[in-house]
């Protein structure tokens, strides 16, 4: 039915089946949209946030998706600036995930503010001292970059690509892509860091406050580093899931191996830094304010110190150890376990930096307030997930997201499938990715 739109040399399921399978996801999307509209129309009283939890599930989701979307900038950085050419086979997917993550973050931010129609004041009346201003600017700019990075992929759709103008545009865009990758990496470094700074500068919140390096608290660097470490994990995880769902191999193992190895090193170094940070905070920063380490964990009625163990050991040390061994990376189950644990680790880290920061009572006579999200918050947080699945599904169906798909899944019935682009030989990678029909 829509065969003409498919990328060359790949097979897709019939459209009705495709749409039917997306049905539940669309339902989720609608649920999210309803909740979003309720929040906009009726106000933030629709949430379970309160004066103690001014930041809650949404800000956590924001920080998390941006950390997880970090795979885009870091893979781009590795490919375009470090020259890990092999990664071009996963870069499209990484960019797609990044695009989804960042657009989601912006959407959630737009829901999260009390006067959405004044949201643009953050640009118009920007206070340059605020970490949030830095976040807003870099986030918006980097979203622009991601759009530019994602656009060529859209233009590579078989039908669009037929228009010479778009074809040429794609071509030129590929040529300048390293520039954008560099810009993206630069912006990402800052906004990932600023997001870390959001909590780290709060000197009224001893749980989050970190001493500074230059003008930034340590969390600034920890966040950037952790995004670089865990973002690729998320990319790998989603790629693996996509493979499971489609029942096809889409990316060669050596690509996974390379990305996983780099992620492993990043994670290992990050977790060492994080442990040092925690230790310094627990023994120097907090006691200087009269607080003991266990004070931050003991009066929580639910999880206590376990959240720290979950974050650092289970979500950090273990996956790093797995990813650093060749055997770990090459065993599908171990690899999957490692990336899933990694993703959990970074989610927990962002949770702690947002919610525990606010929940730990600072006034000695206050208690630990509890919070659980309202259904509206859950629905709006799942909204990006639904939207992401839909965008991945459509992109996969109509765009050449996985350059190695045709090669890995030759279509038997169709004779003389066009040869897959040669992976490593071409000096000008942008050309190699263009449809060979032009050649």
């Amino acid at each position: 039915m829509d065969d003409a739109l498919f990328p060359k040399g790949v097979k897709r399921c019939p459209l009705p089946e495709f749409l039917m399978k997306l049905g539940p996801v669309v339902a989720l999307l609608i649920w999210g949209v309803v909740a979003m509209l309720m929040c906009w129309i009726k106000g933030l009283n629709q949430t379970n946030m309160n004066d103690a939890y001014g930041f809650a599930a949404w800000i956590w989701a924001d920080l998390t998706v941006i950390a997880l979307g970090g795979g885009a900038f870091f893979t781009g950085f590795l490919r375009y600036l470090i020259g890990k050419e092999k990664l071009k086979n996963i870069i499209n997917f990484a960019v797609l995930i990044g695009f989804i993550c960042y657009s989601s973050a912006l959407l959630i931010l737009a829901i999260d503010i009390g006067q959405p129609l004044r949201g643009w004041f953050i640009f118009w009346h920007a206070n340059v001292h605020s970490m949030l201003t830095e976040v807003a600017f870099c986030l918006t700019c980097y979203f622009g970059v991601l759009t530019i990075e994602y656009l060529p992929l859209v233009l590579e759709n078989r039908q669009i690509d037929r228009v010479p103008f778009f074809h040429n545009l794609t071509h030129h865009m590929h040529e300048v892509m390293p520039l954008f990758a560099a810009t993206g990496a630069f912006l990402s470094f800052f906004h990932q860091g600023s997001l870390g700074g959001v909590a780290g500068v709060l000197f009224g919140r001893p749980f989050a406050f970190r001493e500074g390096l230059f003008i930034w608290p340590w969390t600034f660097f920890l966040f950037t580093w952790s995004a670089a470490a865990y973002g690729p994990c998320f990319t790998i995880m989603l790629a693996k899931i996509t493979e499971k769902v489609t029942g096809k191999r889409l990316i060669k193992d050596d690509v996974y191996d390379l990305l996983a190895k780099i992620a492993g090193w990043m994670m290992a170094t990050y977790i060492v830094a994080k442990i040092i940070d925690t230790w310094y905070w627990a023994t120097v920063t907090a006691p200087a304010r009269g607080m003991t380490f266990m004070q931050f964990y003991s009066n929580n009625p639910l999880y206590g110190i376990w959240i720290l163990i979950l974050e650092i050991v289970i979500g950090g040390v273990i996956p790093a150890a797995i990813l650093l061994t060749r055997k770990g990376r090459n065993t599908p189950f171990a690899l999957m376990t490692a990336v899933v644990l990694g993703v959990i680790g970074v989610c927990v880290n962002r949770w702690v930096m947002v919610l525990q920061t606010l929940a730990v009572p600072v006034l000695p006579f206050e208690g630990w307030p509890m919070y659980y999200p309202s259904w509206q918050e859950v629905a709006t947080t799942l909204l990006p997930v639904a939207y992401g699945i839909i965008l991945v599904a459509f992109s996969y169906r109509y765009l050449p997201v996985f350059p190695q798909e045709a090669e890995l899944n030759p279509i038997v019935s169709e004779p003389a499938a066009p040869p897959a682009p040669a992976p490593d030989t071409d000096a000008e990678p942008a050309d190699a990715e263009l449809s060979p029909a032009q050649a």
Binding site: Q115, R118, F121
Partner: protein, 741 residues
């Protein structure tokens, strides 16, 4: 020239460039920014000239001077009047919220006649003429049938012109049943009458006292004139005046005191007698007073010495005997020691024996009518209206015994016994009350034993409320004749609770009446006029303001200017006064009531096994529990350990709770012999084990959504306990059971 794709594109680009170069996007952005900052539904208060009107607060008997800030013709804020003799610039939480009552949704907008069943809250607006005609018709019929004495009035005010007009109306009409709402004032007045032979209110020279011994008085909970007490308390802190608080629960007063003595509930009087024991035994009393100005000491001393040794006191009160001895000594050795009683805000009178025991302590240290002591403050003297000329009907009506029995042989000293009315009404058939007026009172809420009250209520055929607000009583009346609220009317305030000097405050209309209301004084005058002679003859005034003019004469002008009049150099007798008792001396054991002094303790209702705990109500400055209910601002300040959602928390000691299997916040069933209620439990280390503390002032069914339906009315779980000697309601608690649900 063909408009192709490229041309169209360039058209668009040209358009974009032109738009950018025009003011449109920039101006639009700016306007939208302004628009998005000023939503039309956010009110913009109008400006105007700022003026200040000084008046007197009437939300409690405190008699504070308040200054209302007006902007244009709106009242925007109530503040304390600096330099006012009672509150000198301070103001309490309720007084501050007066404008929410003025402008609030609880106001009765016009005369209302009941349209549905009683309490169903269906009303029909009627004109003032029709409303008054209704009352007149009813009253005329009663009078015709020689049933004038079956008209009763429950009033929250009695000393000022409005209270006196109402009382006068009843007299001229032929009914003795003018009943003032109960408070510790009843007990104090009786105490002064019995021990000192005077008709006076008790005033306390708290500013000059240097040792405060409080038997459960909520000095910081609203006892007396609250702001004055707060100010005195701060002065005590500055001067290092010692405060000892005696009560079983750590109230704010107890927490702020220098020493908190958690006494077994209801045994405060015994402790007072125990202290007297020590003082007398060690001859620490002030002989120059006791020897020359008191009588009956020997007999009283014998009883006290024999009955209330510190050991015996310890057994009853739980207060360590050495503490009693030490306390008695430091009390007696202070220069100006002052003993106070009346529990909490003093909204329940209490046992006369207890009041006399405490007052005797003051007498032992000679602190009667003296600096830093208890002063007998005579009632207002400015109302000198001619005697009512009664016709035969009126005279016959006035000969009838009062419905509450006050003044009858059994209750010879009592003036008002409102708590007896429900019982009396239910007992007789037909009801002894055929028509009931309610003025500045909310008995439907404040009277205890709600079940009996409702029965009595149903038997009264005609109930008229004068309330400005849709309170419980108004809601359950047949007719509401809404009074102007206190910021809209003139009225003299003849009394400031606990103030030690004769005082008159004047409430003034700060703004025009907001609704179709009428001054209760004018309503009385118009009713009298409509009833014709002889009732009419008793009211020779055109309107209420005319009456006020006539009453005060030239003094009214100065009163209007200053807002109050106080006898600044009032001295209740220079040195020691001559008492007006038969002996001319202070009576330690008044003849008339010989045994009362020793029957100080009142047992709570209920039996032990069924009700193992004791429920004690406790007051808070943040919970108004009288005629006025909490306005929205005040209810907002109530902590979430008292009220959460609509659930009320009762205070229980952790051990007591543990024994029942209750933990913090758990729901429980609180049962007393008078009723039961679902509550939640707040564990509090500051309450004596075995007790359940219930906050008063909640559980309203009327008013607005900000107050109605929240919590439990403590009065509904309590019952009156009649003090054998005086007839006053002396209930301080009730036996109770708390169980898990």
């Amino acid at each position: 020239m063909k408009m192709d794709r490229r041309s169209f594109l360039s058209f668009l680009i040209g358009g974009a460039a032109g738009t950018t170069l025009s003011p449109l996007p920039w101006k639009l952005t700016d306007d939208l920014a302004i628009w998005s900052q000023n939503w039309p539904w956010t009110p913009v208060p109008a400006g105007g000239e700022v003026t200040f009107v000084e008046t007197t607060c009437m939300l409690c008997p405190g008699g504070c001077g308040v200054t209302v800030r007006k902007v244009g013709d709106r009242a925007v804020k109530i503040e304390g009047t600096p330099g006012h003799p009672v509150n000198d610039g301070g103001i309490c939480i309720l007084g501050l919220s007066g404008l929410q009552l003025l402008y609030g949704p609880t106001r009765v907008p016009a005369p209302l006649r009941r349209a549905g069943g009683r309490g169903e809250n269906h009303w029909e607006k009627i004109s003032w003429d029709d409303a008054l005609a209704l009352v007149v018709e009813k009253l005329a019929a009663l009078r015709e049938n020689r049933l004038s004495h079956t008209l009763a009035c429950i009033s929250g005010t009695d000393g000022g012109t409005v209270g006196r007009l109402m009382e006068r109306f009843l007299t001229a009409y032929g009914s003795p049943n003018f009943i003032r709402t109960p408070s510790m004032r009843d007990a104090y007045e009786m105490t002064l009458h019995l021990m000192q032979g005077v008709q006076a209110s008790a005033g306390f020279d708290v500013e000059n006292a240097d040792f405060i011994l409080s038997f459960g008085s909520g000095i910081l909970e609203g006892w007396g004139s609250p702001v004055r007490m707060f100010r005195a308390h701060s002065a005590w802190k500055e001067k290092g005046v010692k405060v000892v608080q005696i009560e079983p629960r750590l109230s704010n007063t107890a927490a702020k005191s220098d020493k908190w003595l958690p006494v077994n509930p209801g045994t405060e009087a015994v402790l007072a007698l125990g202290l007297a024991h020590v003082i007398l035994k060690e001859s620490l009393h002030r002989k120059e007073f006791v020897d020359f100005y008191a009588s009956g000491l020997d007999r009283w001393k014998n009883e006290v010495i024999s009955k209330w040794t510190p050991e015996q006191v310890e057994a009853v009160t739980g207060i360590d005997k050495s503490t009693t001895v030490a306390l008695a000594r430091s009390f007696a050795r202070a220069d100006h020691p002052l003993a106070l009683c009346g529990r909490g805000k003093g909204s329940t009178p209490g046992s006369i024996g207890e009041f006399m025991a405490v007052h005797a302590l003051n007498a032992l240290v000679g602190n009667i009518n003296r600096k830093g002591g208890v002063w007998a403050v005579p009632g207002p003297d400015y109302i000198r209206w001619p005697e009512v000329e009664m016709d035969a009907t009126a005279a016959a009506g006035m000969q009838q015994p009062r419905i509450d029995g006050a003044g009858t042989e059994k209750y010879i000293f009592a003036r008002h016994l409102l708590h007896r009315v429900p019982e009396m009404v239910t007992a007789a058939d037909p009801s002894l009350v055929q028509a009931l007026f309610i003025l500045e009172a909310n008995p439907y809420y404040t009277l205890s034993d709600s079940a009996l009250l409702k029965k009595a209520w149903d038997k009264i055929p005609f109930i008229v409320s004068f309330s400005s607000f849709m309170d419980e009583t108004a809601q359950n009346a047949d007719l509401i004749l809404p009074n102007h609220m206190y910021l809209e009317r003139y009225e003299d305030v003849s009394y400031a609770e606990g103030f030690n000097k004769p005082y008159i405050g004047l409430a003034k209309p700060v703004i025009h009446p907001q609704f179709s209301t009428m001054h209760a004084g004018d309503v009385i005058l118009r009713l009298a006029k409509a009833l014709g002679d002889p009732v009419q003859k008793a009211f020779p005034w055109e309107d209420y303001e005319g009456c006020l003019d006539d009453t005060f004469g030239d003094a009214l002008e100065t009163l209007r200017e200053t807002g109050y009049r106080v006898e600044a150099d009032f001295a209740p007798g220079s040195g020691y006064p001559v008492f007006e008792t038969a002996s001319g001396r202070f009576e330690f054991i008044p003849e008339e009531i010989r045994d009362a002094g020793m029957q100080a303790m009142v047992q709570p209702q209920g039996e032990e096994p069924a009700f193992p705990l004791i429920l004690i109500p406790f007051d808070s400055q943040r919970l108004a529990n009288g005629y006025i209910g909490d306005p929205p601002f005040v209810i907002k300040t109530v902590p979430d350990t008292v009220l959460k959602g609509d659930a009320l928390f009762v205070e229980v000691h952790p051990e007591t709770a543990k024994a029942i299997g209750l933990s913090e916040g758990r729901a429980a069933l609180l049962a007393t012999p008078k009723g039961q209620a679902r509550v939640r439990v707040h564990l509090f280390e500051g309450i004596m084990p075995g007790l359940v503390g219930i906050p008063t002032g909640l559980g309203h069914q009327a008013y607005d959504g900000y107050l109605a339906g929240k919590g439990v009315n403590a009065n509904a779980l309590m019952g009156p306990v009649e003090d054998g000697a005086s007839g006053l309601n002396a209930a301080w608690g009730i036996r109770a059971k708390l169980s898990r649900v």
